[in-house]
């Protein structure tokens, strides 16, 4: 409707101008609604501990690294950060290794139950996590996977996998099958054709879905909190110490969670729609 036929130039009356102003202030307002809370958190994170407790709050960050330094030096934080990164990287690798072939199969082959499979993949998102986490905790204790990074990464992979499948599916669908067929006629076997023709074309998309998997694991709270005791991830650590820790520690931790996520989402923004646009049809 934005590009509706505008055959006759209309006179910009005061009414439409006012409407336009209203419209744009609405847009700006919505943007502020999203951005302002993050900005406020960053102000707190960039204040010294005493300033965080102080009142009233400034509107501009004082750029004091006191809180952040305290946060990084706090017992267990470094380990939690490291755990978070390890788990997220494992999740990333696992979900791409499992998800990308599934995405490729969905985009290239027609098999029975394809539609049902796709729906099923999406439906796993609808499965409540508390229900998943508890039995897994029990099983993990039996198998000896409890409180390990790989165990948690496996759970996070189940969360990230639907997205990995759907994103890689849409990415592989974007590469015409003719290109692959051309490579076969030129003497490549299936693997070579994939390696030399398809892979270079899909690499950015695969990277994006890998980053997305990383973000999902990085942000996940409930399963991390339930499944780890000693090897806490950053989210679990923050949750656990929430009641005991001073405010400035919480805010610095919050900022430590937010900033990487912001960067990641910015990196994958182009692909955000791939997973839903296809899944809806």
């Amino acid at each position: 409707m934005s590009t509706a036929v505008t055959d006759a130039p209309r006179i910009v009356s005061d009414v439409t101008r006012a409407g336009k102003l209203l419209y744009w202030s609405g847009v700006v307002l919505l943007c502020v609604w999203v951005l302002l809370p993050i900005y406020l958190l960053l102000i707190n994170a960039l204040s010294s501990p005493t300033e965080v407790q102080a009142f009233p709050k400034p509107a501009v960050p004082p750029f004091d690294l006191g809180s952040l330094r305290f946060f990084l030096g706090y017992a267990g934080v470094a380990q939690a950060l490291l755990n978070s990164i390890i788990v997220a990287v494992l999740t990333m690798v696992l979900s791409i290794l499992i998800g990308a072939p599934a995405g490729y199969a969905l985009s290239r082959f027609n098999f029975r139950g394809k539609g049902a499979f796709r729906l099923l993949v999406l439906m796993t998102r609808a499965f409540p996590l508390p229900l998943l986490a508890l039995p897994i905790a029990v099983v993990y204790i039996r198998v000896g996977l409890d409180d390990t990074q790989i165990g948690l990464a496996l759970v996070h992979t189940t969360l990230a996998l639907p997205f990995a499948v759907l994103i890689t599916f849409s990415i592989f669908s974007g590469v015409p099958a003719e290109l692959e067929e051309a490579a076969w006629t030129l003497g490549c076997n299936r693997l070579q054709a994939f390696w030399k023709v398809v892979l270079p074309l899909v690499l950015p998309g695969i990277t994006a879905s890998a980053i997305f998997a990383f973000t999902i694991s990085w942000n996940e709270v409930f399963a991390s909190a339930v499944l780890t005791v000693q090897n806490r991830t950053l989210t679990a650590f923050l949750l656990q110490t929430l009641n005991l820790s001073p405010l400035y520690l919480r805010y610095a931790g919050g900022a430590a969670l937010v900033v990487p996520a912001l960067i990641f989402i910015f990196a994958v923004r182009k692909y955000l729609f791939a997973m839903w646009g296809i899944a809806n049809r």
């Binding site: 009142f55 009233p56 409930f222 910015f266 955000l272 729609f273």
Partner: protein, 220 residues
């Protein structure tokens, strides 16, 4: 539970507004879209902490209120006595955090609607509002279904936002599971609550699948 009932419809309205805005933007579309999707990438714990920064006693809301001279000294907003405020804070935080996912689904759904429908509607003299009601909404049915299903189920599971803002003052289902499992060491009770979550989730899924089914013979 009540939380989900309030949050989801509000989110639906907001997501529809945001999606329409994005769909009708000509300039700066990608920037606005990126900004709108930021909360999508944030952890619910981070979202809870962000809103804690606003609502706590020496937080930004109090700073503003005092600055404007509306209250004399900072008031303790998040406390046992103020369950109403606590509740409102959690709703705001959830609105802020999780509307993005709905919006993304709806925007991509709107992208699938063929332009001809709008042109036809325009020919028949439908104004903007009528076009939205009679064309966009019905055509958006499948996306609405997905969005509502995912969001309601996620809303039932809401956890870290509530913990960050209220501690254990405001019990929700997921925090009950966590509490039974760890603080009370009662795995059975935890599992029971988790099953309640499952039951609600299934009900929600079934209801939405029924209510928003694409009519037979209708094609996109």
């Amino acid at each position: 539970m009540l939380l989900a009932v309030i949050v989801v419809p509000l989110q639906l309205i907001m997501a529809l507004v945001m999606a329409s805005v994005v769909a009708s933007l000509k300039t700066a579309r990608s920037t606005v879209l990126y900004i709108f999707t930021i909360p999508l990438g944030l952890s619910d714990l981070a979202a809870g902490l962000i809103w804690l920064a606003i609502f706590e006693q020496s937080g930004f809301l109090n700073s503003m209120l005092v600055g404007l001279g509306m209250v004399q000294k900072p008031i303790l907003l998040l406390s046992y006595q103020n369950t109403g405020v606590l509740f409102a804070a959690v709703i705001l935080a959830e609105l802020w955090r999780a509307t993005a996912i709905m919006m993304v689904i709806l925007v991509s759904g709107m992208g699938l609607i063929a332009r001809e429908y709008y042109e036809a509607a325009e020919v028949f003299g439908a104004n903007r509002w009528q076009r939205f009601l009679k064309v966009t909404l019905p055509m958006l049915r499948p996306s609405l279904q997905t969005a509502l299903m995912l969001r309601s189920i996620a809303a039932i599971e809401v956890f870290a936002v509530v913990i960050a803002l209220s501690g254990t003052t405001l019990p929700v289902l997921a925090s009950q599971v966590y509490d039974w499992q760890f603080n009370q060491q009662n795995g059975g009770a935890a599992a029971a609550v988790a099953l309640v979550v499952l039951a609600i989730s299934i009900t929600v899924t079934v209801v939405f699948t029924r209510a928003l089914r694409t009519p037979e013979g209708a094609t996109l």
